[in-house]
Structures are given as C-alpha cells and as structure tokens.
Symmetry: C2
Subunit: 358 residues, 2 copies
C-alpha cells in the first residue's frame, strides 16, 4: 500500500487504476463491471440517467471537505436527481480529473466515501476514468437508475400544494461556517477549531454535515412512483426560489409561497439569529439542501404525510400552484411580492459559477 | 444569438443551459430528455455504460482542435468503447467544465460537433451538466449502449489470431504534425500553413483527421455480437503494445506479434520515412487509432474478413495468442523480443498523463 502523502504521479495511472478496480465489489445486475471497455449491466425497460460534477474551487475545497465526505457527496448529488424522478439508483460511473500532485490518501479517501455511500444506497460503481488535470480536481459521476413511473417537473396542476421535505437552510449555513473556519473530520465529527461551545456543537455539527454530507430522502422518493399523489418533483439543489421557478416554468404555472410556512432548519436558524442574519433567506435561496420539492394533489396530502412518517421525514406545505405566468410570489407580513430566483452561487458571481480566489 | 467571441460568463449559466437544451432534438426511446432532474430512456435488458473525458492540455489544445471536431471526438472516444463491446450506442450525457472566459463560439461549435456525431451514429444527448472550471476545459461524456452478447477482453483462447481493423499510426503522426504547426479547419479541411505541397496534402490530411476526428468501425463492431467468431475485443486507444497486453492480462495468455504484418498506415509511414522516423513504432505505441483489436478463432477468420469487406474495412492478422504468462512478444528480422507497453503519453511523462507546458 502507498503512503497517504505519496503524490499519485509517483504511483502512475496503470497502478492506480488497478488499485481502484481491486476495491470495487461486483454487484447484482452487473454482468461486466470495471476493467473492460464498457460495463454491461442488467436494466429494466425504463432507465433514468443523470450526471453531476463537483469541481474544486467551485463546489468544494480540499481544505474544507475530508476526502471521504467528498466521495459521499459526489454520489449523493446524483442520487438526489434520481430521487426527484422517483427512481431506484443502481449503477454509477466515476470520472476523475486529478492534478498529478494529488496525494494518494486523498484518492483513497474519496473512494472510501464513494463506495460506502454506494453500499448504503444499493449503487454499484461499474466504470470510471482517470485523467490528469492541469487545473484542480473534477469529480464527475454519471448515475443510472431504474424508473417505473416518470415523475417530471412539468406535471404540476393549478391548486396543487407546494410541499417541501425536511428542513431548509442548514447546508447554506454550513457553507458559511466552513468559511469561518469550522471543520468536520473524516468520520463526520466536529473538529475542535475553538469555534464552538457545548451548547452550539449540535447546531454546528448539523449544518456542516448538511453541507458536506447531505442525505436526500431516497427511500421516501421511491414511494412516489407507486401512486399518482405527486404530480411533479424537483430536488432542491439551487434553493427553493430557483427550483420552484423551474417547476413553474416546466408546468406553465405560478406559485405562491407563504414565508411563515417555510421549514427553516431550527439549528441553522438559531445560529443565524445569534449573528443577526436572515435565516429565511438561507432557506429560500441557500441551496444544496437536497430535499425534494413536490407538487401534491391537495386531497391527497394527508395520505402522503402519513407515508413520510414511516421515514421520520417532515413534509411541509409552503404554498400552492396557481394559474398564471411562471413566477414565484412570496407572502410575508409586509405583503405579497415576486420572489426572484437568487440561487446561491458558490464562490462566485451570478451567471456561470465563477472562479474562487485561491 | 450571441456573438461567437462573447465570453460565456456574460451570457450566464441559466441562459446557456436553455440555449443548449433548445438545440438538442428528441429521439426514439427518449421518454424524458434534457431539462429534468434525470433523463428517462427506454433500455433493453442489457445496457452498456462507459465514460471518457477529454481534458484541455492533456488530450487536446484549443489552438490545435476546431471546437466542432473536438465535440465529435468527445463522443467518438466513447463510441469506440461501446464498439469494443459489440454494442449499439444509444444515449449520451455531456458534462462540461468551462472557464468563465470561454468564448460562446467555442461552446456552440463543440455542440455542433457533438450533435452532428450523435446524429451520424444514432446517439441522443439526454442530459448534461455545466460547471465553471478554475482550470481548463473538461469534456466528460457518459454513453449508454444496447448490448446483446457481451464481448469481453477476457475471452481470448490459445491459438486465436490477433487481428487489427484498419491501419495504425496515422493518429500519432497527426499529433506530431499538429506540434509542427499543421492545422485542420472546422470542416476538416487542411489549412494553408505553408507546410505542405500538392503531393503531401493527402497524407497530412489523412493523419490530422485520424488524430482530430477518428472514425471507429462502429457498424462492423455491431456484427461481432451476432456470432461466436470473435472471442475478445478491445479498442486501440493506447496503442497496440499496451492494449494487446490488456487482452493478454484479462485472458491469462501471451501474444506473439509479427512486426512485418502490422498494418502501418501507408500515408503516415510515408511522412515518417521522409523525416527518417520509425513508422512501426508509431503503429505499435502511438495510440488513439480507435480501431479494434480482436481475438479471432483461426478457422473463422476468412468468414470475418468477408464480412468486413462490406464496410470496406481491412482486417489484418498480426499474430496469435499462446499459452504463457501475460506478455507481448514481437518478432522482427532481428529475432523475438518482449514488446513493452510504451503507451504514448500525450504531452507528458509515463505514469499519470502529465500536464503540458503552456
């Protein structure tokens, strides 16, 4: 085995590929796994496909994210997309671009997280690619899932409820805490950076984990394929304001949101309040919650909530879809105003996510 | 429409995504294409999956490759992997990491090439991702194919013939020509850089196209799933020496190659001879030929060659597989020696492909 600090340049592509391959288990449905020109996998008549990448300096920083958690998140952001289609995730390919000076321990830890998260969710890594990067690290995962019913963004109906799973804002608060110096260790434990007390530890830990190791409601999402309760779905990756607008655009509807109903994460809200910040803004625009945003037939919401209880998953009605030009309206104590899609742009300016300062 | 020189930063992610989506046609089998959390596609019981990336400064240079040809090649390198499994390519996802100063014309041209090559080969783009890159451009394609029989690297038998499609060495010669200043235009035409005469134009054009716009034998590859003539296959991406060793390792066999039989591309050989170079070395180690290397039952080779004639595809027997430790032996006029896998490392040192000088 190589020392964790060994630059991968010294190990070489061939040895690295063999090393990674030897770690990847065979899985059910995998007829030909890693190590051939392509993988061959058993599929159902309808297959879901998604791809999402994590780019160093845009989506993560090596000094902010232990490699194991980064590996978990690289898979999770794709799992979330399959969940939003009510699919069962099955097979992943992993394409890595790595600077030649990347430490072997980073790659090894990244694969720890990828394979662990795969084992948790029934996903098998069936292929990959390893390339040198003249810039930073790029982790590109493509995920195949099994689909039954296709749950699209475009199916919302006027009168449908706008429903959110879980709580919002913790991941964005976690990003702020990272920028301030808070850190998680590779097992997800809060590191002692002198930033917290016994009373704030739980809140810091929750927010950092929400940012570094999000957990989308995968099991609940699967049940959405089995009935016609949910008319449309999207995963909350860019924030409620931006992702709800996407459903509106795809469905040709407007949506009204009641600010008082938005399920702001209570621990994140506590931290924000303590600094005089705006917890609602985090929940509306912060992004990276990897919860689900659903359009639900109003007479079926109670049944859906009964179902979510099985997974201890809160469901919250935050508003409703209404006929009208695609836009989102927010009602607060001050009245009703259009809610612009202020998607949180990590490290950067609006538009294409920009490049961070080093 | 935006001017080609507009930096994509000024257009913004949202507008870019909409612009690219609007260019992507629906296709047969595509139940939900681009524009949702994941694509939903119709699949057969056995699906092939592969992923391969092109990294700026490692696999391509923007000043060497017109964007349209780069888009074509990004799909082609994946098509070649599906071909080596005797599969039918069907659906692709395209994940792009782009520096914010990338010109819109580059992205537009890249998609011209991707979609054009997809249309030629029956491949539909069903999803993608767009991220900022603090470094160079990374183009990551994942390709799904339909499989029937799974043609693996591991099935070669002692006595099988080592068979190569097409000719070898032109792509590597093309890379050398690019380094010397030769260029193709975006329609694949030879540009007038003062490097060629009427008599050398055909050879330059052939080699530059082989490097920038390779054409794997996809139609022929599909026929390999229909019978048991071919026992093992791999695509020639890293050169005969390295890729043949991979079949040997997977099949637990050695292979003997007759140097005199290797189908060195005649136009590349002419250019190499003119400069006093070694055309055989290009064919053995140059890589990026994207031809197929096959293990063929000896009594079925004639039938296979008759089949290849339909596609005007030369098949050449270059040696045979024999019992023994996995290695490749090369017989020349000077005797028989082990042939090391000197895979051509673009721009770099052995091991992990290194980073080029700017």
């Amino acid at each position: 085995m190589h020392a964790p600090e060994t630059p991968i340049r010294e190990i070489g592509e061939r040895a690295l590929v063999q090393l990674l391959r030897s770690r990847i288990p065979e899985g059910p449905g995998v007829v030909a796994g890693v190590g051939d020109d392509a993988a061959a996998v058993e599929t159902s008549p309808l297959t879901l496909v998604t791809t999402d990448s994590l780019v160093e300096g845009v989506h993560f920083r090596r000094d902010w994210s232990p490699p194991r958690l980064l590996g978990r998140k690289a898979l999770t952001v794709n799992l979330s997309d399959i969940a939003a289609m009510a699919g069962l995730p099955r097979y992943a390919t992993v394409s890595l671009c790595l600077p030649p000076d990347t430490a072997f321990g980073f790659l090894d830890g990244l694969y720890d997280g990828l394979l662990e998260r795969g084992a948790e969710t029934g996903v098998h890594v069936v292929g990959g690619n390893l390339a040198a990067s003249p810039g930073g690290i790029v982790i590109d995962v493509a995920l195949l899932g099994q689909g039954d019913r296709v749950l699209r963004r475009s199916g919302a109906q006027p009168g449908d409820l706008v429903v959110v799973t879980g709580t919002l804002g913790a991941a964005a608060e976690g990003l702020r805490l990272l920028a301030q110096g808070a850190r998680l260790g590779s097992e997800g434990q809060l590191e002692d950076t002198g930033m917290w007390t016994a009373s704030s530890a739980a809140a810091l830990s929750r927010c950092l984990r929400a940012q570094l190791d999000p957990v989308p409601p995968l099991a609940f999402a699967r049940t959405l394929s089995e009935n016609n309760v949910v008319h449309a779905a999207i995963d909350l990756s860019d924030g409620l304001s931006a992702d709800l607008l996407r459903i509106c655009e795809a469905s040709g509807l407007a949506a009204r949101v009641d600010a008082a109903a938005v399920p702001v994460d209570p621990l994140a809200a506590g931290l924000e309040r303590a600094r005089g910040g705006d917890a609602l803004a985090l929940a509306l625009h912060g992004g990276e919650d990897y919860e689900l945003l659903l359009a639900v037939a109003p007479d079926r919401f109670d049944a859906l909530r009964d179902l979510a209880v099985i997974w201890d998953l809160p469901l919250t009605v935050v508003g409703e879809f209404v006929a009208g030009e695609p836009r989102v309206l927010l009602t607060t104590g001050a009245g009703t105003e259009p809610l612009p899609p202020l998607a949180h742009e990590h490290f950067g300016a609006p538009g294409l996510p920009a490049v961070p300062e080093a």
